[in-house]
């Protein structure tokens, strides 16, 4: 292998990426937020004008739709002179390509018609941050403003989020404190899901789980979301190089998803397992016989590692030596006979490979 050449290329590639990133950072300006097509400030307008003067559709609205936003004609009632003077930039953030509000899916279920009566047409009772919105874009109510009146605890405990939220799977909220995904959540989420899987299903359907956990999945999650560099994916980077180390470090972790046959399939193709076309042994000299490099100690300590190549049932090469009367002797651990009897062995197909 020409390592020197390989190293140089990697460092050149890294340097190029670094330079590109720095150049982009210096040359870029703040990107526009969705919904910023129209330049207006609630902080300015709401100070002197009643909300319903612009949002005429609101008092009769039973759903949240784009129609609740004022149309251009409404704006022109006050700002007609700007249009006459072709000052498109007064309202449109991109005067060269003036656009209307973008279509947006709405995330909560609320009837303005009902609520306006309850708050005496005081929109700020729910939209508490209205005066703080100096930039255009959505002005949703805070959840706290909802729970001021609505007893939320019961719905929360029963997992009935759909009474207010249209679809938490499509529009997930930042997890509330009880379900924070911060910290060590990737490591702990399995244990959490074993007890409170119902809570997970409020925001995630099983296609989300399948991305990582489906034994049928066609590709690694790291490739499916190759642009997502901030997530803690388990097989990120050069996993091939470190897989044998991590499998030795925590064999059960691999077994949970893959099973030994997954290992064997690949090891056979790489010709390092007995099932390969022309297998080569990865074991040191003296491996098969008693002695300092004997396989016996390793097998006792890390049998999953052995199984990743040799688990072929009756065709496994263990049977040849370890069957009753074979030269390998009894392979069972000390406590084995306390839990398993010979009659059981004679009645179990797997045991009969050795106990004929």
């Amino acid at each position: 292998m020409s390592w020197g050449r390989g190293y140089r290329r990697s460092w050149i590639a890294l340097a190029a990426l670094g330079i590109a990133a720095c150049a982009t950072m210096l040359g870029t300006r703040r990107a526009k937020q969705p919904g910023e097509e129209i330049r207006q400030s609630h902080a300015v307008h709401a100070k002197d004008l009643p909300c319903l003067m612009c949002h005429e559709e609101v008092p009769e609205a039973t759903t949240v739709t784009d129609r609740l936003r004022p149309l251009e004609a409404k704006c022109l009632e006050c700002h007609a002179e700007k249009k006459e003077q072709n000052e498109c930039g007064f309202c449109h953030t991109d005067p060269a390509h003036p656009a209307s509000y973008p279509r947006e899916a709405h995330t909560i279920l609320i009837s303005h018609k009902v609520h306006l009566k309850l708050v005496n047409d005081d929109c700020a009772a729910c939209h508490v941050k209205l005066s703080a919105y100096t930039r255009p874009g959505p002005t949703p109510p805070t959840m706290k403003s909802c729970t001021k009146c609505h007893e939320h605890r019961v719905d929360f405990d029963e997992g009935r989020c759909g009474r207010c939220h249209t679809d938490l799977k499509r529009f997930p909220l930042k997890p509330v404190a009880e379900f924070s995904h911060a910290g060590d959540f990737v490591r702990q989420h399995g244990v959490v899901a074993s007890s409170t899987a119902d809570a997970c299903t409020q925001c995630h359907d099983q296609t989300f789980c399948a991305d990582c956990h489906a034994g049928t999945a066609p590709t690694r999650i790291e490739l499916k979301f190759s642009e997502n560099v901030t997530s803690d994916f388990i097989h990120r980077g050069d996993y091939l190089t470190r897989h044998s180390i991590e499998a030795r470090s925590d064999p059960a972790l691999c077994q949970r998803c893959h099973g030994t046959s997954f290992c064997t399939a690949c090891h056979n193709q790489e010709n390092v397992a007995p099932g390969g076309r022309d297998p080569r042994s990865p074991h040191p000299p003296g491996w098969a016989f008693p002695g300092p490099t004997s396989h016996a100690v390793s097998a006792r300590r890390d049998i999953v590692n052995c199984a990743s190549c040799h688990d072929q049932g009756p065709n496994s090469n263990c049977v040849e030596c370890h069957r009753v009367g074979g030269i390998g002797g009894n392979p069972h651990p000390i406590q084995w006979l306390r839990k398993h009897s010979l009659p059981e062995a004679y009645g179990t197909a797997m045991c009969q490979y050795c106990h004929k």
Partner: protein
């Protein structure tokens, strides 16, 4: 076309789901769909020679929820599957592949006290942990937080794997006083060919919020045939404020009990692995700076080892702006470990375009193929073409103990959209 393990009733369930879907989609209040097309090309070093592999992969998922019908509330249909055509020299010799990851119909009845889910699904609660099966999973909420859940079906055979059993069943009784707390006891049995026991476990699981800032979660799984602990996991999470998150955890596993009980290898070993440690996350500058660190001491039959790591992520600029991060990990176990260093980041160029970069380097304690260093770099250009549409072009470059130099390219086109017609009537 290769598929996972298929049974006659699985075919029936699929047909039911499709038929129900056909009629249900039109009546669903929320329909979401995603389609991801991935075309990649790589030089694949295999058995001493380098082959070229070019897979075309299409992943689709569809979810229709709140389907109006007279029998069930909260009815939903979820389907996710994929198909792949591989040109060049496919690794397993198969040029056309496809499978279904998830396909189920779910609904609630009897004032939402009974929930039924039918089809290909995951079962997570209790000792099941994570069983992917074709079958039925009912749940009954008795009242006062008490309930029963269960499942019955055929475990799905994973790709490149052998059957994970011919029949699986399990049950769990739970008490869930609030949505974030639950305690359960459960049993699980998976049988293989000829009724041989693949797994037969009993378990206890709990997640309980002791204080607003303190939560305890744990799981213990007992192997009934072996009369010993297969797995125990306990974690205490303390989150006093938004700036700090601390977790202490202990985990014990018996690795040999993760082999099928009828595997020939299940008779050779009886060892345990213990791991104890903690994790701390600091966010001194909220939404801008995130610092994480963890340390775990590992003990198994080979002796002591440890696994520790740290990660720092800094975000600046508005609207996604710039993110940069560094990460390091050191795994030290008997027989050798590795040291990993990583830098990553993304930069928003315009509202619709951003570039992403990632670079990993490894230093191995023990040589692998005579090498102790490995490098992996990737860069992506992400373009949000239109609402719900995204295109990603990724290039990857490796120098590893398995390949002097390997380049891989990937083009991905994603659609992720849907419609919502829910309405609140006054």
């Amino acid at each position: 076309m290769a598929t996972s393990h298929t049974t006659w009733w699985w075919a029936a369930v699929s047909c039911t789901a499709v038929l129900a879907g056909g009629t249900g989609l039109a009546r669903a209040e929320t329909v979401t769909a995603s389609a991801t097309t991935i075309v990649s090309g790589q030089r694949d070093p295999r058995d001493g020679t380098v082959r070229t592999v070019v897979p075309f992969l299409e992943l689709v998922s569809l979810r229709a929820s709140d389907i109006k019908n007279s029998l069930f509330d909260d009815t939903q249909i979820v389907v996710s599957g994929w198909g792949e055509v591989v040109t060049g020299s496919p690794r397993d010799g198969k040029s056309a592949l496809g499978d279904v990851d998830v396909a189920y119909v779910q609904g609630a009845t009897w004032q939402r006290r009974v929930t039924l889910r039918l089809g290909r699904q995951f079962v997570f609660p209790g000792t099941a942990g994570n069983v992917q099966l074709d079958g039925l999973a009912p749940m009954l909420r008795v009242g006062a937080g008490f309930g029963l859940s269960g499942f019955v079906g055929v475990p799905v055979t994973p790709r490149f794997g052998y059957s994970r059993g011919q029949f699986a069943t399990g049950a769990r009784a739970f008490w869930s006083p609030s949505y974030e707390s639950a305690i359960g006891v459960s049993i699980l049995e998976i049988l293989g060919t000829g009724q041989h026991v693949f797994r037969r476990d009993a378990g206890v699981d709990a997640r309980y919020r002791l204080l607003d800032s303190l939560a305890l979660s744990g799981l213990a799984r007992w192997s009934i045939p072996e009369t010993r602990l297969a797995e125990a996991d306990a974690a205490l999470n303390w989150r006093p404020c938004r700036y700090l998150d601390v977790t202490g955890d202990y985990r014990r596993t018996a690795p040999d009990l993760f082999l099928p009980r009828y595997s020939l290898f299940a008779v050779f070993a009886q060892e345990t692995r213990d791991e104890v440690g903690g994790f701390i996350s600091l966010r001194p500058w909220l939404r801008r700076l995130d610092l994480q660190g963890d340390f775990h001491e590992v003990h198994d039959a080979n002796g002591w080892g440890w696994n520790t790591g740290g990660k720092a992520t800094l975000r600046f600029g508005g609207s996604g702006g710039t993110r940069v991060g560094v990460e390091s990990r050191r795994l030290r176990i008997a027989g050798g470990g590795y040291l990993m260093g990583r830098v990553f980041g993304w930069q928003t160029i315009t509202r619709k375009i951003r570039v992403v970069a990632d670079f990993d380097a490894y230093d191995l304690d023990q040589p692998l193929n005579g090498q102790t260093r490995s490098f992996f770099g990737s860069g992506s250009l992400v373009y949000d073409v239109a609402p719900a549409w995204r295109a990603v072009l990724t290039g990857m470059d490796n120098v590893t103990p398995y390949a002097t130099h390997q380049i891989e390219g990937l083009l991905k086109i994603v659609y992720d959209g849907g419609r919502v017609v829910k309405e609140v009537m006054p």
